[in-house]
């Protein structure tokens, strides 16, 4: 947690978020400020502490493997930006061979 220099463009790429140059400057500074604040966690003795996985006592939740009705396909596709037939329509993903 020592360095607070964020490569904000790299993080934005990982997050699939296009940022303008102004946003890179703004969010970069705000995130570095936040990381200064969260660095105080280094003061806590956490070496022998178990990380919280869940806050309530609960074991694996299982159910019988039986089919139950799903939402009607047409209803779900009606909420999509683009649908075609029984599919979500997306831009081309695999490039044509050049």
């Amino acid at each position: 947690m020592s360095s607070t220099n964020i490569d904000i463009r790299h993080v934005a790429k990982l997050a699939r978020l296009a940022l303008s140059d102004d946003e890179v400057a703004l969010y970069g500074a705000q995130l570095e400020n936040l990381l200064v604040h969260v660095a105080e966690l280094e003061k806590l003795p956490t070496a022998d502490v178990v990380a919280t996985a869940q806050v309530i006592p609960s074991r694996n939740v299982e159910r019988d493997d039986v089919n139950t009705p799903s939402l009607p396909r047409a209803l779900v596709l009606a909420g999509a930006p683009q649908a075609e037939g029984v599919y979500f329509r997306v831009p081309r993903i695999i490039a044509e061979e050049g």
């Binding site: 997050a15 502490v49 806050v55 939740v61």
Partner: protein, 495 residues
């Protein structure tokens, strides 16, 4: 008192006794919402047809001899919860036109108990914020002072209940998003134990913290809503498979035999003098009502903010990956699928959501995961352990629900100053504990024409909702703060 200003309990009794019909209540409330909502902005959309249809069903069930705990009670639903056939936006451009294809379990259970869905209430975008100012779709004003924020993120549901535009509301609380706005608007806001209420149909923000809870004008009403909603739901694997005790019948007249912890680290001297005086008086009232006040310590509570602002953004960055322009909401075209994702998310998310996605993505990224995310989850364990030790010495903890009354619009322009608003509510969220805010007094800050409410937070051990609500009920009945003043919007606006 007209039916619209009665408690949910009284209104449900009157409708069940057929003194008035749910349809009459629904029509009267829709008329009032038409008059008042343009000024208050509590609702992003008014669901008149759903309200009328639900009211007709309630009237049929009452005519058939059923008795319903929320019969004819007008309900505000935070707009991050699905109600089939309604626009459900999370107050985000990315979902602005999306129609929910199904109904959230918590909402459905309220409808099954007789509630009437009046509208979908405003919130900070994806529930990220403490003032409702992060909504991309509208401004919500505090019914006590319309130059001030209602709090957030459940600001719309809370403003609706405080402003007489609903009798009860549903909010969601991730780091304080029910309790802080309830304090700011002078109503009761209750976050149950994590897992008590199904999250099915709640648009996810931070899944290990998100919890739906009731907003109401009395503790009894909050208990009625909780009793209707709580319990196992097969559609949410994290919902608890534990028997839910009815909480709404209160069996206690005082707090004799109850030990209430006062947290040493929550030093009231850090607050403004008038605010601190209200909290000192509230603690004294708990003692006057019979409680034994004991000092407790939460040594790691001060690390709550840092812990939360790693864990919640990390979970948010993962949950919000689903908004990619493919399955729902906005799409902005690009040259290829990657450019389409990036352009859609750039156009669809507001600044606070982008900030949190970036923080969370960084905290989870290769090389930083152990230093940030894992360390925060270890700090979370220490915070939960602090509460467990404190509860060896007391039955409940009393603390401020917020450091101040509602603040003016645009007063917290720096993101971190807004994050500080959650200081008193985040530790309980990290530990999964049941907690609520109940009105505890008023202050009149310079420049405010009216007294503004403050809220007392009460917290109990995991699953101790029944104790929590009964303690709060005794405090509420023993102090009657909500009866001292009413929001000006209730007395100045006709209807």
């Amino acid at each position: 008192m007209g039916p619209l200003d009665r408690s949910a309990a009284a209104l449900a009794r009157a409708v069940s006794a057929r003194e008035l019909t749910a349809s009459e209540v629904a029509e009267a409330m829709l008329t009032r919402v038409g008059e008042r909502n343009p000024a208050l902005g509590a609702y992003l959309s008014v669901t008149a047809e759903h309200a009328r249809a639900a009211a007709r069903r309630v009237d049929e069930r009452i005519a058939a001899g059923e008795s319903l705990p929320l019969a004819g009670v007008p309900l505000a639903v935070k707009d991050n919860m699905c109600l089939a056939g309604t626009r459900t936006t999370a107050a985000s451009r990315i979902l602005e036109g999306w129609i929910a294809p199904y109904t959230a379990t918590a909402v459905q259970r309220c409808l099954d108990a007789g509630a009437i869905p009046i509208g979908k209430a405003n919130l900070d975008e994806f529930a990220m914020g403490s003032s409702c100012e992060n909504s991309a779709l509208g401004i919500t004003r505090n019914p006590w002072d319309q130059t001030r924020v209602p709090g957030g993120s459940s600001g719309g549901s809370v403003a609706a209940v405080a402003g007489g535009l609903a009798t009860i509301g549903l909010g969601s609380d991730t780091g304080g998003s029910i309790r802080e706005p309830a304090a700011f608007c002078g109503v009761v806001g209750f976050k149950p134990t994590y897992g008590r209420v199904s999250r099915y149909g709640l648009i996810a923000f931070a899944s290990s913290l998100d919890q739906i809870g009731p907003i109401a004008r009395t503790v009894e009403d909050a208990a009625l809503v909780y009793d209707a909603m709580a319990g196992k739901d097969p559609a949410d694997a994290t919902s608890l498979d534990l028997a839910v005790e009815a909480t709404a019948g209160f069996d206690r007249d005082d707090l004799r035999g109850v030990r209430i912890g006062i947290v040493a680290e929550f030093d009231l001297a850090r607050l403004e003098d008038d605010v601190a005086a209200v909290y000192r008086a509230a603690y004294a009232d708990l003692a006057r009502l019979g409680a034994e006040l004991v000092d407790v310590s939460l040594p790691t509570a001060d690390y709550g903010l840092a812990t939360y602002y790693l864990i919640a953004p990390a979970e948010c960055s993962s949950n919000l990956a689903r908004f990619d322009g493919v399955r729902y909401g906005l799409r902005v075209e690009g040259d290829d699928v990657g450019a389409m994702y990036e352009a859609t998310r750039a156009a669809g998310f507001g600044p606070e959501v982008k900030r949190r996605i970036l923080i969370g993505t960084h905290a989870l990224s290769s090389g930083y995961y152990d230093a940030y995310y894992v360390r925060a989850q270890k700090a979370r364990t220490l915070i939960a352990n602090d509460f467990a030790r404190a509860f060896e010495r007391c039955d409940a903890i009393a603390s401020p629900a917020a450091a101040s009354p509602a603040f003016p619009f645009n007063a917290k322009s720096d993101p971190y100053s807004m994050y500080l608003m959650d200081y008193y509510t985040i530790p309980m969220s990290l530990a999964g504990l049941p907690a609520l805010s109940v009105p505890c007094g008023y202050v009149t800050p310079p420049g405010s024409a009216h007294p503004l409410p403050l809220g007392l937070a009460l917290t109990t051990p995991l699953f101790a909702e029944r104790s929590l609500l009964s303690f709060a009920h005794v405090y509420e009945r023993g102090t009657m703060h909500a009866e001292r003043y009413a929001p000006p919007v209730l007395t100045e606006v006709p209807g």
